[in-house]
């Protein structure tokens, strides 16, 4: 229909539909000029490295928000997972297992345990009709309490050095023209410029995010997710087992929160109960910036990642400029409201052509 209009309007439409992307580009440009170190290989990787948590929590929220729910517990499930994985790893290494096996076992078992809060959330929401807000808030309290009990005020410690090497290591190390090595930091002389490319944790995070983005976009599971969020009655009539599906969705969300907790453990070599607390807002905001609707049925993982990038660039850029991080919260609040207003005023811009 819009094709019939003149060209200028078509271009405006094109821009409006991608306002989040435009905003990201604009933001990056501004920071490239105001913060000298921002536009560099290192700067971009810092954005990704510190954004890993938001990427994962945002993906977790995306699934839940598409079904029309909300998950407030992701932040503290993340803290819970960081503590459990740290504790398990320490126990396994004490038992005499090699550190690599210990870390791997610790993380895998934590992933299993991390499905439990999601299962409980999903059961409460789907089978007992508890509103998602209340169910997940209760789970927030419960996971917070349990993680504080597990550590009793002292952060988990004595993790093997390998955890640090994985969490803060890079995928590729290279001295231009001479050495290229994967995973392992080459031994070089002092003063030689070493390029470190793609942090390991970003690779781990994106493997999972891409797999689940694919599932959401192309599989029956994904289609059912949109169906449940779009119109739950229609979904029931279409023969979808809505209750079982909702439980699975909350388990996916909880799994991503757990994943982000284990990555936190690798990054900071400790476990902390409130590790994810400040990121709850960021996660929800990035989903909304990415074009999802809190009423359900709309949203994509790609959009969420774009939203996460906007927030991550904002935080890193402001920090590099030396602006106090307090201002970040003001900016995030304003961007959030702006995103929804754009959505309200130009609905035809956003949801055409999807």
């Amino acid at each position: 229909m819009e094709r019939s209009n003149n060209r200028g309007k078509g271009f405006l439409m094109f821009l409006g539909r991608r306002w989040a992307l435009m905003f990201l580009v604009l933001e990056s440009l501004v920071f490239s000029f105001t913060a000298p170190a921002f536009f560099s290989v290192k700067g971009i990787q810092i954005v990704l490295f510190f954004g890993t948590t938001i990427f994962l929590l945002g993906t977790a929220e995306t699934f839940v928000i598409i079904t029309g729910g909300i998950d407030l517990s992701v932040g503290f499930i993340m803290g819970f997972a960081s503590i459990v994985s740290a504790k398990l790893t320490v126990i396994f290494t004490r038992m005499g297992l090699p550190p690599g096996v210990g870390i791997l076992l610790g993380i895998l078992i934590t992933w299993m345990i991390g499905l439990i809060p999601g299962y409980v959330n999903g059961t409460l929401v789907a089978r007992l009709n508890v509103p998602p807000f209340i169910a997940t808030f209760s789970m927030l309290g419960i996971t917070h309490g349990i993680s504080e009990l597990l550590i009793r005020g002292v952060p988990a410690k004595n993790l093997p050095y390998l955890a640090n090497a994985i969490g803060n290591g890079y995928f590729i190390y290279s001295v231009p023209g001479e050495i290229v090595s994967l995973f392992k930091k080459p031994i070089i002389q002092r003063g030689v410029l070493l390029y470190e490319i793609i942090p390991n944790v970003v690779v781990i995070a994106f493997v999972f995010i891409l797999v689940f983005a694919f599932i959401l976009k192309r599989s029956k599971f994904g289609q059912h997710t949109y169906a449940v969020g779009g119109n739950i009655d229609a979904a029931i009539r279409a023969g979808i087992n809505v209750k079982a599906h909702l439980i699975k969705i909350y388990m996916v969300s909880s799994f991503f929160a757990t994943l982000s907790g284990t990555i936190y453990m690798l990054q900071y070599i400790t476990g902390k109960a409130d590790a994810g607390a400040p990121f709850l807002l960021d996660a929800i905001v990035s989903v909304v910036i990415g074009g999802a609707s809190l009423y359900g049925g709309i949203g994509t993982v790609g959009g969420t990642i774009l939203g996460c990038l906007i927030l991550s660039v904002l935080e890193t850029g402001l920090r590099m400029m030396g602006v106090p991080t307090f201002d970040k919260y003001i900016a995030v609040g304003i961007i959030l409201i702006f995103a929804v207003l754009v959505d309200q005023f130009f609905p035809e811009l956003i949801h055409k052509g999807d």
Partner: protein, 361 residues
């Protein structure tokens, strides 16, 4: 609601009537149960001092829960109350600090600081209300936006530190009692009896904290407005069915803006009171989650997040229950971390009861 209840009464007779009353007031019963249990497990729990202490500490939560009650009944949610409270607390403390430093009399600086703090805190509510009512922004998002903005402004004002060096009379007012009795010897209002010895302070009986007086006064007004005025009826109408309210000729947009402004104002009141209670301007830390505990209190008190249901009295029971639980657990020597778990479990219980017996409420 009443017709529904009476129908079941007719069919089942007396025994179920008792059960109905019990289930309808389960929150209150649970509160009494908690008091009974903690009286046995905790030494010194069942005492006048401790009960006054619990009320004193729950004042902020009572105000925030009352604020949420209005918003939740109108079918919305206000996530910004915790940080609006921090904003008013820090702002009024900052103004008091400046005026106090410029040698203004203490009452004047306290009054000006408090009034400015309260007035400014109307603004976030106005903005989020306008966004919600005029621009159809979901309440969750609009107030979450205000959450970020107020938090940022608060931290900017206080630079991440509590604000101190305030007038010294503040704490006396916020932590004072209405009545002081030295058994058999002296009675005085609002201040300790003059010429009291150090050893006698232990025997001094303090009755009726000022904070109780204050919260009772505010909550009574709010209860009256919700129950007996047109504004309250409209709030229930808007929450019950938005379309019906519009058709009934209620100016829904204006009403929603007023509701969010009221909620924000009450959060501001809680913040100013917090300054009086602690004697410093506290910013709200991330892990405090005041808004979530306020919402939990309202839901425990029988409100529905779908709107149209809830009461100030219920919210008060819910808010006091959370504080009482915390107080009782710590007096009984249980680790404070169990509080989070306990609140979560009670919240689930509240909603599950609500879901299982819809005819009760």
């Amino acid at each position: 609601m009443p017709s529904n209840g009476s129908m079941i009464l007719d069919s089942k007779g007396r025994g179920s009537k008792l059960l109905m009353t019990a289930a309808k007031n389960w929150a209150l019963l649970f509160l009494f149960l908690l008091v009974a249990v903690f009286s046995i497990t905790g030494k010194g729990f069942f005492s006048l001092t401790n009960f006054q202490n619990i009320i004193h500490l729950s004042t902020i939560f009572l105000l925030l829960s009352a604020a949420e009650t209005y918003v939740i009944i109108a079918g919305g949610i206000d996530l910004s109350v915790g940080f609006v409270m921090g904003l008013s607390s820090v702002l009024s403390a900052k103004i008091m600090q400046i005026l106090h430093a410029s040698a203004l009399p203490e009452p004047a600086s306290m009054l000006i600081g408090g009034v400015v703090g309260l007035t400014v805190c109307i603004i976030p509510g106005l903005i989020s209300g306008t966004l919600i009512a005029r621009f159809n922004v979901p309440p969750f998002i609009a107030t979450l936006g205000m959450w970020g903005v107020t938090n940022g402004i608060t931290l900017r004002i206080c630079q991440g530190f509590p604000i101190s060096f305030l007038p010294s009379k503040l704490v006396g007012l916020g932590n004072g009692y209405l009545l002081y009795i030295l058994p058999g010897r002296a009675v005085s209002f609002f201040h300790k009896p003059f010429g009291i010895q150090g050893s006698q302070i232990r025997e001094l009986v303090r009755i009726f904290p000022n904070s109780l007086l204050f919260s009772f006064f505010v909550l009574f007004i709010l209860w009256y407005i919700l129950k007996h005025t047109k504004f309250g009826q409209h709030t229930y109408a808007v929450g019950g069915s938005m379309d019906a309210a519009i058709r009934a000729g209620i100016d829904v947009r204006r009403h929603l803006i007023l509701t969010y402004t009221l909620s924000s104002f009450l959060a501001g009141l809680a913040g100013v009171f917090n300054v009086f209670q602690t004697g410093i301007g506290n910013f709200t830390p991330f892990s405090a989650m005041y808004e979530l505990f306020a919402i939990a209190g309202v839901v425990i008190g029988g409100a529905s997040l779908m709107g149209g249901k809830g009461s100030i009295l219920g919210a008060c029971v819910g808010a006091v229950m959370i504080r009482l639980l915390e107080n009782g657990l710590s007096i009984s020597g249980v680790e404070p971390f169990f509080r989070f778990v306990a609140v979560g479990l009670i919240l689930i219980l509240a909603v599950v009861i609500d879901q299982m017996f819809p005819e009760l409420f």
